[in-house]
């Protein structure tokens, strides 16, 4: 039984020390306001053998939150480890700040995608900006130089007034932060759907590069080693919830509630990056951790938990921006642009010197001990004494109930095949034009032109190419490619298949540019885990993704879960965003998407079936979502990728573009507009023109083949059993489908490029 209010809570201006907590076991504590469940509070008392102090309660409450502890999701996420395919390239797997992959020549690459959804709805600019800042620090903490960012985004209906507020703010925030850091933005996604109204998704990905020997891990070992906090001063940002505690234990002269939103300082982060890389070069750190969610609580407990000993921290040495902060607030503060390093005593001076060089504030705040406790002091008095693992790694685990929703059958039965189709070539033409100009299919240049894609001078491919590609070695031309994909409509129709389709698409995109897919990171955006239907979607999607990763041989190296993306009863479409990283030995061999040479032959690779469920056509023309998503054939995806990679390496193709939303015709529109060249097409025998153009069958791509390479290319496809159909030729300045319609490129361009500026410009 929990003690009820037998004794008075600590009076104002009394520091709630460990000693005080021991002496006042019955004091009332606001555990419920802090989001803890009764049994969780009881477990904390059991772990400590007494009631927690205010500071301890603050730490447990935030570290055991859904966001930090993954309590609803971890029983499902563990499949990513259990089903992980054998993969020699994986150097660091799930569990660290980000996974690390071997890409050859002594290089390792780390990448991860994370969400900053809710803050971006409240304050679009700062929410998105600090999302970029956070993921960049994760990558930096692995020892890598960040080399590129990407931004998968979801917004409400394109014409909804609030989208006009959220989208420009988010885009300006991502650009404002990333541009100022000097990280090229090489890709991302922008999808509109009314289901994201009130719950926009702002996911951010960062890629970093290092040499194998530079990999750093987040752990504190070696008694006597110093704990150094460096970067920005700590202020009252992002501690909204914890002010409950502060107001109970301290005087009430300060604002009742601290803001939950943080403001980023990309300039400070740029200094932090350069300073940290210089520190790495001189091998000055034994362990390192970025400060993100849960601030110092998270950094100190994770470092100590992963290390061998304990840790002692003098909290009053933390440099503050606001001297009125309470110790609880300092522990919780999510002030941006901070890092925490473990440094051997004889290296501390040099460490501080480098920080000074870069105008970065650095302070020794504690040291690693040979004990087993995390101990935190405030002006000499102990306010925290906990086993760090209990805070960081042994939080609660929920087995939330899940059940296939009743409406799922009806949704799947509502087949898109029954929707009225265009009756003739004219109608087909009108629908092609409409699709090309629909918000989801339209050019995103208005957005991506606000991102610097050239900085660092290594960008080989960037949006709107199928994947972003950066060179990582100037001598050998070794490079990496990354693509992110996710289709909430498919996933709503069938979460298992939808997640696999997201992976398949990202995998295909990487291969389309000529890179070999190696590894996966994912951001799982879902509604409330307390809804069994949502939990079922989550369970199915993770199972689908884990199974598919196993088949494709691409391990999940890390990622992020974002739950509670819902307004009232209405959850967003289940939206797993999957990022695939690939390697290319020689970036001069990359394959762009543009049709650039008249006379080249256009081949369609893969099989086209009648698959319209969840398609862009069904959405744009009929505002319909129903039926089943396209089938997944992972073996076919693998074969297609092999062909695309071989053809690129051996110079058999000059352009390739993967087929996804909008089907063949959308891919053709994009390749034509990108290269400023038209194409003349013939509908293959036995295919309905409408199905040929609009079906979204997976496992397909189009390629442009120089005539001199045609035989070699078709022989290769034939020998390996990949269907390759010659569908036309690059030619003229219109998209012509013989016997159906002709669409001048200029008309297409106007439709394709005018939409987004017209909506939000």
């Amino acid at each position: 039984m929990l003690p009820s209010s037998g004794e008075r809570p600590p009076s104002p201006r009394t520091l709630d020390t460990v000693k005080h907590a021991t002496e006042t076991p019955g004091a009332d504590q606001p555990w419920a306001e802090l989001g803890l469940k009764e049994d969780e509070y009881a477990r904390i008392r059991e772990i400590l053998g007494r009631r927690p102090t205010g500071a301890e309660l603050a730490m447990y409450s935030v570290m055991w939150s859904e966001h930090c502890s993954y309590k609803s999701s971890k029983v499902h996420l563990k499949q990513f480890g259990e089903k992980a395919p054998e993969n020699d390239a994986l150097l660091v797997g799930i569990g660290e700040n980000a996974g690390v992959v071997d890409v050859g020549q002594g290089y390792a690459v780390t990448f991860k995608v994370e969400s900053h959804n809710h803050p971006s709805y409240i304050e679009p600019y700062q929410g998105a900006a600090t999302g970029v800042g956070g993921i960049v620090r994760d990558i930096l903490a692995m020892g890598a130089r960040p080399v590129a960012v990407m931004d998968p985004l979801r917004f409400g209906a394109a014409d909804h007034p609030d989208t006009k507020r959220v989208l420009p703010g988010v885009v300006a925030g991502i650009g404002g932060y990333g541009n100022c850091l000097g990280l090229p933005n090489i890709g991302g996604e922008v999808v509109f759907d009314p289901c994201y109204q009130g719950n926009p998704l702002v996911n951010a990905l960062c890629v970093g590069v290092m040499k194998h020997e530079d990999i750093h891990l987040a752990k504190a070992s070696g008694a006597g080693n110093k704990v150094i906090l460096y970067g920005a001063r700590t202020g009252g940002d992002g501690i909204g919830g914890v002010s409950v505690l502060a107001s109970e234990t301290f005087d009430d002269t300060k604002p009742a509630k601290r803001p939950a939103v943080q403001v980023g300082d990309p300039f400070q982060e740029k200094l932090l990056i350069e300073c940290t890389l210089e520190i790495f070069r001189e091998r000055l750190v034994a362990g390192i951790q970025d400060l993100g969610g849960a601030g110092l609580s998270c950094a100190t407990s994770e470092l100590a938990s992963a290390g061998s000993g304990g840790m002692r921290v003098e909290l009053d040495t933390v440099p503050l921006r606001d001297s009125s902060l309470s110790p609880e607030e300092i522990l919780m503060s999510e002030s941006q642009e901070r890092m925490c390093a473990i440094v051997e005593p004889d290296k501390v001076d040099r460490f501080l010197e480098i920080c000074e060089k870069w105008d970065v504030i650095a302070t020794v705040i504690g040291e690693v001990t040979d004990g087993s406790r995390l101990e935190i002091f405030w002006h000499g008095e102990q306010i925290v004494d906990v086993p760090p693992r209990s805070v960081a790694h042994e939080g609660p685990t929920y087995h939330r109930p899940y059940a296939r929703p009743e409406w799922q059958d009806a949704l799947q039965a509502d087949d898109a095949a029954k929707l009225p189709r265009p009756a003739d070539g004219d109608e087909l033409r009108a629908q092609v034009l409409r699709l090309a100009g629909s918000p989801n299919q339209a050019s995103k240049a208005w957005i991506t032109d606000q991102y610097d894609r050239f900085v660092q001078g290594n960008t080989v491919l960037a949006q709107p190419e199928d994947s972003g590609m950066v060179r990582i070695d100037e001598e050998t031309n070794l490079g990496v490619a990354v693509a992110t994909d996710g289709n909430g409509r498919y996933t709503k129709l069938d979460p298992y298949t939808g997640a696999q389709l997201a992976l398949a698409e990202a995998y295909r995109n990487v291969a389309a540019t000529g890179a070999k897919p190696l590894a996966v990171s994912d951001c799982l955006n879902f509604g409330s885990p307390e809804d069994p239907a949502v939990m079922w979607q989550f369970a199915e999607a993770t199972r689908g993704l884990a199974d598919a990763c196993q088949v494709l041989g691409t391990p999940v190296t890390g990622g992020n879960v974002s739950l509670y993306n819902q307004t009232g009863e209405a959850a967003i479409h289940p939206t797993p965003v999957v990022a695939v990283l690939g390697v290319i030995d020689d970036v001069t061999r990359r394959t762009p998407m543009a049709f650039a040479e008249e006379g080249q032959l256009v081949y369609l690779l893969g099989d086209t079936r009648e698959e319209l469920g969840g398609s862009a056509w069904s959405q744009v023309v009929h505002d319909h979502l129903g039926g089943l998503p396209p089938k997944v054939d992972l073996e076919r995806e693998r074969l297609l990728a092999e062909i695309l990679i071989s053809a690129s390496r051996d110079g058999m193709i000059d352009a390739a573009h993967d087929l996804s939303d909008g089907g063949l015709v959308q891919a053709l529109v994009e390749s034509c507009l990108r290269g400023g060249k038209g194409a003349r097409l013939v509908v293959p025998d036995g295919l309905d023109p409408f199905v040929f153009l609009f079906s979204e069958s997976a496992g397909r791509a189009i390629v442009a083949v120089p005539r001199s390479e045609e035989l070699r290319f078709t022989d290769m496809c034939g020998a390996r059993g990949l269907p390759a159909t010659r569908i036309g030729v690059v030619d003229g300045d219109a998209l012509v489908v013989q016997g159906q319609f002709a669409l001048p490129l200029e008309e297409l361009r106007t439709a394709h490029e005018g939409t987004i500026p017209g909506l939000v410009g």
Binding site: E123, Q126, P259, Q262, V263, F267, R321, D322, Q336, D359
Partner: protein, 87 residues
């Protein structure tokens, strides 16, 4: 025509990187003795029609919903007839 000035400043507890950068630069330029700098925005609105209670109330509302994001910013509204030019 009346001029109304809306000043928008970040809330005191919110990080102000711009103000900080200015403050840190001052000693280097030989200006000592500035303990803190905050940088905000100043809007000068030229208002048509009478500046009565109702008009001011509307401007207040506009400032609170549009010119400032009150999640992170505070604002003040005041009627101003001072002349601006200087230097």
């Amino acid at each position: 025509m009346a001029r109304v000035v809306v000043d928008v400043m970040l809330k005191p507890e919110i990080l102000d990187p711009q103000g900080q950068a200015v403050q840190r630069a001052l000693p280097r330029l030989g200006f000592e003795g500035i303990a803190d700098v905050r940088q905000g925005k100043r809007f000068e609105l030229e208002v048509e029609g009478p500046l009565d209670e109702a008009a001011l109330a509307r401007i207040h509302e506009m400032a609170g919903t549009f010119l400032a994001n009150t999640v992170i910013e505070d604002f003040t509204v005041r009627v101003d007839d001072a002349v601006r030019a200087e230097s």
